[in-house]
Structures are given as structure tokens and as C-alpha cells.
Chain length 302, copies 2
């Protein structure tokens, strides 16, 4: 669900036994979605994959959904906005619908819309998300809906995976640890920044959307590494929207990869990252870490 | 750790097999700590209990720590500030030291200070806390220290307890569900407000501290139910500190129990609360809910 998640990273994860997801942006050209699907198939053949879309962006640009359907994924994730208007079209194409939710209310909307799987996304997650922590949200959503629920936000090690599976989640949706995967579409400089950031150095902010005039719905801010730009503009969003200079500065420093100004979206589990590795190794370490914890979980009952 | 947690609630929890904790405030009279301990013993005899103190408040008012020691608890929790200067005094009195931490860095400080138990407190928690979610913080702290680690923040049902125990926590520190316990020091009107609030209706704010001139360290804000007062002053903290009118308004509306202005600290798991019940019933439901999840956790391995 991040610009880092192209076809190559998704393929590495689907090849490793997970369901790789191709991320999209609200301004992407529809063809870029098809190119990512081609990249996926070049590495992973006919293995299953997903494509992540924002419902609010699809409402404005239906061509994004058309392209995602044409890419023939196993599942399309429709998040950040009401998925209801789009579910039938996806189902009619024989594609499963996933929806990320950030509150009990949005979980009930997604269930009523007829989606196949709900992802309870906590505020710890990187990129756009809500305000409720993964742990309380997961408890609340699991008890509110009948659908299977996958947990997202802050899951980065075997301990985190064991936690959400023990709570009753059907799986985990994991993003941030793969920002430093070899296959991620992230630059050397960005990876270096992720690796030296800790869990207390992210900010949930709308300033990077405001500075790019991206009309994200008000309730979803993006979790990014905190930097000089976010420190300067957090709490002054309206002034930022009215400042061409600040907007130009962001664009220019983004081109220069100056991350004291430009944004890098990342979740709080950025504090667990220590090395650039193949995505399959990262996935395997998380799964292998969870296995003994789940196998022995009953032992705490004495 | 909240004004709701007096001797009577702590006694109900210790009688139910948990370790009840008596909360204190930075401006409490030392005698009130002793009175709470008397209340505890009136209901729970010589059962174990804890007393929660803020390290920054103890640094300014050592008499709080002296009173807590004189109350002869099993454990004293020293949180929100460096516990190092106070650990020996507590240990010399034969009392265990607990410390809540909100980052990896503060966990390492607590371990080096010689505390006996670390509580990893996520941002979901009610009252004062940090910014990192329970799930990522727990993974990070468990891998950073050798001490036993208890999880706090957003744990309110059997699912949440199973999650943190499966992850490797030695236990759970649970507050918000007991705000509506029969034994809690909360008014009818406050309970009614807790019961109708959902997980998305809290705010992490310093405005209630600012309005009362309570010198909480900058890095710890309090999670409270969002209301008109927090909406008005969040982001305008310096103006609030300079406004006698706003401060008087808060005091006055607090006396009137007008919670559109006055504060009620609560965690995000407030969204799981449905009824006023005895504390023992709440504790038993959480434990009974976790048991089958932990017993069957290995089954997800197939």
C-alpha cells in the first residue's frame, strides 16, 4: 500500500507464501498498475497477489479500479472511504474484496458492503491510517463482525504476529518491515533513514498531503518519519495549504532526496528494522518467530 | 494509576487474584496514600497491592514516596521520568519496583536503574502515556531488556490479554475497563459518559494539565475523552496557559461535573465497555476469555 510496494516486492512475498500486495497512489496512471502486475507475473507467474486502492480516489477516478480489475489480481483492497459503490464490480470480475478499517463503525460499513475480508488497521501503521491502536481496534472489530479479520499496524516480529493470531486474527498485513527489503522500491538514502529511525520518530500528519494538494479525507492522516518539515507545519495545515513556497520547497527537496524536508511514510515498527535483506528472509523470520510462541502459548496457563 | 483507582478498587482486584494498584496524583496529600492503603486492608487484609507514583512528582515532592513506602505495598511503580534516584530507597524498604516505559530508550534506563519489572505502556492507554502503540512497543521492549515485561494500553478483553501473553509479556496492566467497575472512584455521570464513548472518541492531550498548571513533562500527554474543551485548546496550549478565564472555566465545570468541559481520562479500550459491574467480574471475564485462545493458539499452525 506504499509506493515502495511495486510488482517486484509483491512477487517476492507471494513467492514466499504470503499474499503480496501492489500499492497504488491516488494520482497514479492506470497503466502503472498494469505494469506492476506485469512485473509481478515476470517473477511470480500465476501466483496470487492483491492490489491496494483508496476508495476515495476510486470515486474520483474510476479508471484506477478498472485498471486494477484488468490486472486480474486475486484480491483488491478498497480502503479509506466507503467501499460499497465498488464491491459488486470487483466481485463480478471474480476478484475478492478486502477492506481496511480504522474504527468499529467503518468495519460495520465494510461488512454490510459485502467485502470478503476486513483488515483492522491500527494507528501504528505506516502511511495513511486512523487514530486507534491495533490492539484495541482488533479486539473491537473481531467482536463486531462475523467476517475474518486480519490485523495491520505495528506487526514486525514473530512476537507481533503471534499476538494478533492468538487474539483471533486470521492473519497479519505487514508493511513497514518490507520498506528495507531488497525488492522494495526504496532508494539507498531512504533505506538508510529507515534503518536509523526508532519507534518514537514517526508522526501522524496531513502536512505532506496538504503540501502536495492531495485531497485525502480529513480523518486519515499519514504516518511518516518526523522531520523538519513536519515539525514546522504540524498544527499549521491551513497556512501550509496557502503557501506556494512551502509546496515548492517540498517538491524540490523530494527531487533531491533531502528527507529533512521530503516525506518517508513508515509505521512505528520502523524501530525494529536493522538490515536490508531479501523480502522472503524478512517474512520467514517473522513467521519462524511466531511459531514457537504460538506452540507454547498454552504453557502460560500453568 | 488514575483517580478512579482508590483502595477499594485495588482491594477488589487483589481479592480477585490480580495485583491491585492504588493510583496517586502529583498534588495528593501524602496522608491520602495512607488512607487508600487503609481502605485496601479493610477489604483485602494482607493481600499484595501496588502504589503508582510519577517519578517527576516524587523528584519535586519526596514526601509522596515516603508515604508510599510507609503504606507497605508489595510494589511501587515509578513511572514518567527517570526512576534511578528512587530505586534504592524502595528496595531498602523491601518493596519491589515497577516502572512503566513508553519507548525502548526509557526501558533501557529503567533496566539499568535496577527495577524489578517493566511495564511497556502503549499510547492507547488512558491517562498519561507516550506516543508508541502497545503492539510495536511490546515487541521492541521484550527484545531490548532481560527483565520481565508486562503490557499496558488497550487491553480490555480476553483477546487482548491472549495477544500480549502470546507475544511474551509476563502479564497485562489493565486500567480503562475498571473505570466502570462498581468499586471505582467514579461518579454516576462519569460512568455514563464512559459507557457511551467509543474507541475513536479519545484524545492525547496536554490541555487539561496546562489548564490546571500541572507541570507534566512535555513528552507525556494524557489520553482523555475528547470534548469541547480539548477541541477548543488542542494546538493552542500556550494560549491556554496564559488564559485565567479558561482555567477558571475548567475548574468550575469540573465541580459541576460538566464533562463537555471537564476531563475524564480513559484509554481507547473505552470502546469495549458496556456495563457497570463488580471489578472481579470484569477481571474474570478477561481472564476467562484469554484462556481458550491461549489453549488453542497452536492450532493456527495447522
Amino acid at each position: 500500500m506504499s509506493p515502495a510496494a511495486g510488482g517486484r516486492l509483491a512477487a517476492a512475498l507471494s513467492n514466499a507464501g504470503a499474499l503480496g500486495i501492489i500499492g497504488t497512489g491516488s494520482r497514479d496512471a492506470p497503466e502503472s498498475i498494469l505494469r506492476d502486475a506485469d512485473d509481478f507475473r515476470a517473477s511470480a507467474g500465476e501466483k496470487r497477489f492483491g492490489i491496494g486502492l483508496m476508495s476515495w480516489a476510486v470515486a474520483a477516478r474510476p479508471e484506477l479500479l478498472d485498471a486494477a480489475i484488468a490486472a486480474r489480481p486475486f484480491a483488491i483492497s478498497l480502503s479509506f472511504g466507503d467501499p460499497t459503490p465498488h464491491v459488486k464490480k470487483v466481485h463480478d470480475a471474480g476478484i475478492q474484496v478486502i477492506s481496511q478499517v480504522q474504527t468499529r463503525a467503518s468495519a460495520l460499513v465494510a461488512e454490510a458492503a459485502g467485502v470478503d475480508l476486513i483488515v483492522a488497521q491500527g494507528t501504528e501503521a505506516g502511511g495513511h491510517t486512523g487514530d486507534v491502536g491495533t490492539l484495541p481496534l482488533l479486539q473491537i472489530v473481531l467482536d463486531a463482525v462475523k467476517l475474518p479479520v486480519v490485523a495491520a499496524g505495528g506487526i514486525a516480529t514473530g512476537r507481533g504476529l503471534a499476538a494478533v493470531l492468538a487474539a483471533g486474527a486470521a492473519g497479519a498485513w505487514i508493511g513497514t518491515p518490507f520498506l528495507v527489503a531488497e525488492e522494495a522500491r526504496t532508494s539507498e538514502r531512504a533505506r538508510e533513514r529507515f534503518l536509523r529511525s526508532d519507534e518514537s520518530q514517526t508522526t501522524l500528519t496531513s502536512v505532506f498531503d496538504r503540501a502536495q494538494d492531495i485531497p485525502w479525507p480529513h480523518e486519515f492522516r499519514g504516518r511518516a518519519l518526523a522531520n523538519d518539515f513536519s515539525a514546522r507545519w504540524n498544527g499549521r495545515e491551513d497556512a501550509l495549504s496557502a503557501s506556494p513556497d512551502a509546496k515548492n520547497e517540498l517538491l524540490e527537496q523530494k527531487r533531491k532526496e533531502n528527507y529533512d524536508v521530503a516525506f518517508l511514510y513508515a509505521g512505528q515498527s520502523v524501530g525494529t528494522l536493522h538490515a536490508v535483506r531479501p523480502a522472503a528472509d524478512i517474512a520467514r523470520e517473522i513467521a519462524d518467530g511466531a511459531e514457537p510462541l504460538l506452540r507454547n502459548a498454552a504453557s502460560v496457563l500453568g
